[in-house]
Subunit: 338 residues, 2 copies
């Protein structure tokens, strides 16, 4: 069996996550048991939710265990199989973690899924046609429930979720506005991702200033908001929500590293009769087939062109992950492992 | 025509509302036109929403105009009629405002409604079998959607809305917990209103302390919360919400007088996949018949025994209203006008 490199979580962050929370380990992959499959990972997905798992606090799932392989989505190729349903050469998506190889009990429901790379690149199954894409789909379709002609807004607009959100929202006839950090991301959002407008939050020192910019970009107000960041951005957006607006809360990355960030004007939930709802996409597996079908079509037909930031080699994963938390990535953050 | 006393709003509060914002005026009631009815008010309802109308800020309705009769719900008796649908002696509920008499164009849809006082006292149509009762019903039934065995929580528990909430929640087989101010109110909530437990928020100096008390009173956590107050209470409650909990936001009386009160931990909306939704009961007239039928039955059968705080005489209204904003009332706040 091949030698395997892994990254373990070896300590928990006190405030900001740092590279020394992680450690690179080498060991041999174990021999396969009946029903198991050995997968060589081509790409590892880095996602903001991983930051939450690094803490030992009450959350929607158990924390990442110390001195174990960091969890994470992976795509790769079957290189050895003791499972009749999987053959060497099959392209698969799974939760292989921060490592080069994984041994998967492929009979376990949902552990490993074969994917077709004829029209869709393998890496897209970690982004637009994967968990981030379905996340955008669920928040938009099931929580926001957009109507044609309404205004939809998303923060972290050029990320994996934001990119998919734009394509899904435009396909429903909505004015679609993004919030992103820096002129390059904003230009890309409008030129490539199909956003009608994109606001650079870095130009604004406070919520009042950002809120004014939102007023200009959303002259009819905001009907649906997909929240990825929280903090100042949420304070700015909630002041622009229309009556009966819907906010799908997917992430609050701005507060992941430090003290809890308050919401300054909760009374607007009442005065504007808003619905604010949090969700975790992995709890809604029933929608994945429908969502993946629409997302796959959007990618295969070029309507969803999701950009990727690719770090090279497993040892680059910690640095790339910390950059993701600071918005240094531009598009879906991946680590290429081959 | 009889002389009429009215209370006008003559100035807007800068922070706290004060009695000098109001002025007592005397004038003659105008002669009736065809279709109009003259109603002598027996009771005026005082409600927290009125504080919002005193401000000249963007909200869900236009502000109360200066130098006009303060708006408000009233019950009374027809004393003169030029409308064939209403006869002298009819008991009616309407929005007569802070005055002794009102002239109502009774052909206007929803302006005046005849009520039956055989089994339900007239004043109840301003409380349990009126707007506050329907408010409790809508938040519980349409937003929280309780399941038997779940834990329901309401703030301002002994008020008109809280009392109705308790009866409706108990009727659905839920553990029902209240939050109120002071030992008398808490005792009354448990002894008379059917609450399983009631927490005195005045015993707690901060959200952490109140949250601990909630943990004891709600050992299985909170599945549904009906929010009337905001501020520290909401901060305490949100830490006790179960996964997939629902918060119906009806009022945030704690912040009505001053600076906006922040929500300290909005990230819990995500980690606990909460739904937080604001509503205004007057926008959901389609549910009123169903809600009033259930509430009327609960009152007529003694399952909903709503207490009233009755101020005597129109001139007592401003003081009683300011007291309501500070929680000095005990039960539904009314002004008796006859």
């Amino acid at each position: 069996m091949p030698m395997n490199q892994q990254i373990h979580l070896v300590s928990r962050p006190s405030t900001e996550a740092v590279t020394s929370n992680f450690k690179l380990i080498s060991n041999e992959t174990p021999a396969l048991q009946d029903g198991q499959v050995l997968v060589r990972h081509h790409f590892l997905s880095l996602d903001p939710y991983m930051r939450g798992r690094m803490n030992d606090t009450k959350s929607y799932t158990a924390p990442q265990a110390l001195n174990q392989v960091m969890l994470g989505g992976t795509v790769g190729e079957v290189v050895a199989s003791k499972n009749p349903k999987f053959a060497v050469g099959d392209k698969v998506v799974g939760m292989g973690g921060w490592q080069q190889y994984s041994v998967v009990d492929a009979n376990q429901l949902g552990a490993l899924r074969k994917v077709d790379t004829t029209h869709i690149p393998l890496s897209a199954y970690l982004g637009a046609v994967g968990m981030p894409g379905v996340t955008a789909w669920y928040g938009l379709v099931k929580i926001i429930e957009p109507k044609a002609g309404e205004t939809m807004l998303v923060s972290a607009a050029t990320g994996a979720v934001g990119s998919a959100f734009a394509a899904l929202s435009k396909a429903r006839g909505c004015r679609t506005v993004g919030i992103a950090g820096g002129p390059d991301k904003c230009k890309y959002a409008v030129d490539e991702l199909g956003f009608d407008a994109c606001i650079d939050y870095k130009l604004h020192k406070d919520a009042a200033s950002l809120s004014q910019a939102l007023k200009d970009a959303c002259p009819d107000g905001v009907d649906g908001y997909f929240e990825n960041v929280g903090g100042m951005v949420l304070d700015a957006v909630i002041q622009r929500m229309n009556a009966f607006g819907r906010i799908a809360v997917c992430g609050m990355i701005a507060g992941y590293d430090g003290a809890p960030l308050p919401l300054s004007y909760p009374a607007l939930i009442l005065t504007n009769r808003l619905k604010v709802q949090g969700f975790i996409v992995s709890e809604h597996m029933e929608v994945w087939p429908e969502a993946l079908k629409e997302l796959g079509t959007l990618v295969a037909t070029g309507q969803l062109k999701a950009r990727e930031s690719i770090a090279q080699g497993l040892e680059a994963a910690p640095e790339a992950f910390l950059g993701l938390l600071k918005g240094k990535n531009f598009g879906k953050q991946l680590v290429k492992l081959i």
